[in-house]
């Protein structure tokens, strides 16, 4: 079999390094040896796809997982998943998880002194539609303190996990909210050198997806890596 086309390398500074000392947990958990460059093979340009059978178990409304309504501000988070070549990524799995309105995760490790909400678990997953669109109804998550440094607080955020078409396109990221005063101080948000790349993680308030008398809309488009047009010569 001939060599396969790989995926584009990121623009300089647009992805974090593994080691980012202001984020203290990265110090003991990032590799110390240089990564080994390898050519793309069939193993890296293929990846799992999850069919409509998972779509039937989709959770797209995080406010309807329990008997009652969760506390907090209802919001609509939606967007498109494209690749770097502007191709919509249809039928790709998008998973989200987040804290409740008080800034507490439904997780036994989270012992922040803020109330759990019996009507809010804070997880969802959907497949994108034929045009790469996804949409969740949820509650605006609260900010919360953490132990990274003195008086450290995470800005409000929603975790996103996406697959795309291949092992090489797998992405885990976080979505933030416009105008959050904590953003300049967050070592995780600021781990990426390129300011424009960082700012793409901030969702955009959006009238078009805002539902009158119901919920504000925030748009968050996600770009997965695009495939190179031709196979690279192996180094």
């Amino acid at each position: 079999m001939k060599n396969v086309a790989g995926y584009r390398a990121p623009y300089p500074g647009t992805q974090p390094n593994h080691l980012h000392p202001p984020y203290v947990s990265s110090i003991a958990r990032s590799p110390s040896q240089p990564l080994v460059r390898i050519p793309y093979t069939l193993s890296e340009v293929t990846g799992p796809s999850f069919g409509p059978e998972l779509g039937s178990s989709a959770i797209q409304d995080l406010t309807k997982q329990h008997k009652g309504e969760p506390l907090g501000e209802r919001i609509i988070v939606s967007g498109r998943v494209l690749d770097e070549n502007s191709h919509p990524q249809a039928n790709t799995l998008v998973e989200v998880w987040q804290a409740n309105a008080a800034g507490r995760y439904f997780h036994e490790v989270d012992q922040h002194d803020a109330p759990l909400d019996p009507n809010f678990t804070g997880c969802g997953h959907v497949l994108t539609d034929s045009e790469g669109r996804y949409r969740f109804v949820t509650i605006r998550p609260g900010e919360y303190p953490w132990r990274n440094h003195h008086n450290a607080w995470r800005p409000a955020h929603i975790h996103f996990s996406l697959f795309g078409p291949a092992f090489s396109t797998r992405l885990v990221t976080q979505m933030f909210f416009p105008g959050d005063p904590l953003l300049p101080f967050d070592p995780i948000f600021n781990c990426t050198a390129d300011e424009k790349a960082r700012n793409h993680l901030i969702s955009v308030f959006d009238w078009e997806t805002t539902v009158p008398m119901h919920a504000l809309g925030y748009r968050f488009d996600i770009i997965l890596r695009g495939r190179d047009a031709t196979p690279m010569e192996n180094e």
């Binding site: 974090p16 003991a28 093979t41 069939l42 193993s43 799992p48 997780h107 975790h159 092992f167 790349a197």
Partner: protein, 190 residues
């Protein structure tokens, strides 16, 4: 025109609530052909401390060396019920364990066959982007594997599961994040 790929961020400590619904630690369903293998190990940080909040994802071909994916155009059979994907969180002791089918060999660069292997993503709090690596098997084909041969000989063993002393019939493969035994991680651009 080209868009710019979205920046990676850490999976954080609380991924379980969003990701556990898709946990899969047994890929070898009933009727799937091939040699069943169980691989276990631990994830260890730079201080040698087990990592209790890591997530391992695996992707592999079936026993015929065929990926369940449209980009695999080889004339080899698919196995009904074998997707080739697993998602396994570490437990409180930093340990993980999964059962699968030993994959067949798949084509590699320049027409060379690759030895049987599983590709692996590792996520955890503290990792701002995933780590990627591979697990190989005790197999004579490893010697000619084009990817293993890109790795310094002294480090290749970190990519090869070995017969476990403590659990006969199982393979052991550990993920060591730093230090002299550090696992080889690959640069796939992200």
């Amino acid at each position: 025109m080209s868009l710019q790929a979205t920046t990676s961020q850490t999976v954080g400590p609380y991924f379980k609530i969003g990701l556990q619904w898709l946990n899969r630690d047994n890929l070898a369903g009933e009727g799937v052909s091939g040699e069943q293998v169980t691989i276990h190990g631990r994830v260890l940080d730079g201080d040698g401390v087990p990592v209790p909040d890591a997530l391992i994802e695996i992707w592999q071909a079936n026993a015929h060396g065929k990926y369940a994916h449209p980009a695999d155009s080889q004339d080899r059979p698919l196995e009904k019920g074998f997707l080739g994907y697993g998602r396994i969180p570490t437990n409180k002791s930093g340990a993980f364990r999964f059962t699968t089918i030993k994959p067949g060999s798949v084509p590699g660069p320049d027409g060379k066959e690759q030895a049987p292997h599983i590709v692996v993503s590792i996520f955890m709090r503290g990792l701002l982007k995933r780590l990627t690596t591979r697990v190989y098997f005790p197999d004579s084909r490893n010697a000619a594997d084009p990817i293993l041969n890109l790795v310094e000989p002294s480090r290749r063993s970190t990519l090869i599961a070995r017969n476990a002393a403590t659990r006969p019939g199982e393979l052991e493969w550990n993920v060591v994040l730093q230090g002299p035994e550090e696992t080889v991680f690959f640069d796939l651009g992200l």
